[in-house]
């Protein structure tokens, strides 16, 4: 199943970002935008209005939780999945309270990451978009 949606991937690590782009292209037919930190993510979000955002927590300039807060202020229905290497209970609960739709640990197996992203798309975006068989 390939979804006709655009996504924004935000991570300061080039390798992680590249990995996520490759991974998400398996699911999406739309454009995949990339940002290296929270501030850049806000600018791209304002300009491109992506349907889905994958947002790292620990980043320079503006961290993921601050970026999450700002994107949700711009669009309360923004569909955002948080990413982190170190998922402490506090960070996960803060992200959930701030309106993140889901949360992925970066060391999660590839198949499980795809499952979380797919479930999030199905739950929050599929009624608004058209999914096509590929």
């Amino acid at each position: 199943m390939a979804y006709k949606i655009n996504a924004l991937i935000v991570d300061d690590d080039d390798h992680v970002r590249g990995f996520l782009v490759v991974l998400i292209r398996r699911l999406l037919e739309g454009v995949v935008f990339e940002a290296r930190h929270g501030q850049e993510a806000i600018e791209i979000y304002k300009a491109e209005k992506p349907d889905l955002v994958l947002l790292d927590v620990n980043m320079p300039h503006m961290n993921g939780l601050d970026a999450l807060r700002q994107i949700r202020a711009l669009n309360p229905d923004a569909v955002i999945i948080m990413l982190t290497s170190l998922a402490t209970r506090r960070i996960v609960e803060d992200a959930a309270d701030l309106g993140a739709c889901n949360f992925i640990r970066k060391d999660t197996p590839k198949s499980q990451i795809l499952e979380v992203i797919t479930n999030t798309i199905e739950e929050h975006l599929v009624p608004q978009t058209e999914a096509t068989q590929s």
């Binding site: 402490t88 209970r89 506090r90 889901n102 949360f103 992925i104 640990r105 999660t108 499980q112 979380v116």
Partner: protein, 67 residues
């Protein structure tokens, strides 16, 4: 019987006199919040299964609030 000996019989009577204990809900919630944000509990590392459970709980709570 010395002065330091405990009179268990009278202590039991004292205990039975306590009929009501009052707790302050805001104080308890504040304590819970402090515990969740500053303790070892808040620093607990969660796996993907635990993370999914937290998000499912939050989702259920939001849906309940909407009803």
């Amino acid at each position: 019987m010395s002065e330091n000996d405990i009179d268990f019989a009278s202590s039991d009577e004292e205990l039975t006199k306590v009929q009501e204990v009052r707790y302050s809900l805001p104080k308890l919630l504040h304590e819970l919040q402090v515990e969740r944000t500053s303790s070892v509990f808040s620093k607990e590392i969660l796996d993907q299964v635990e993370i999914s459970k937290i998000f499912a709980q939050k989702k259920r709570a939001r849906e309940k609030a909407r009803e």
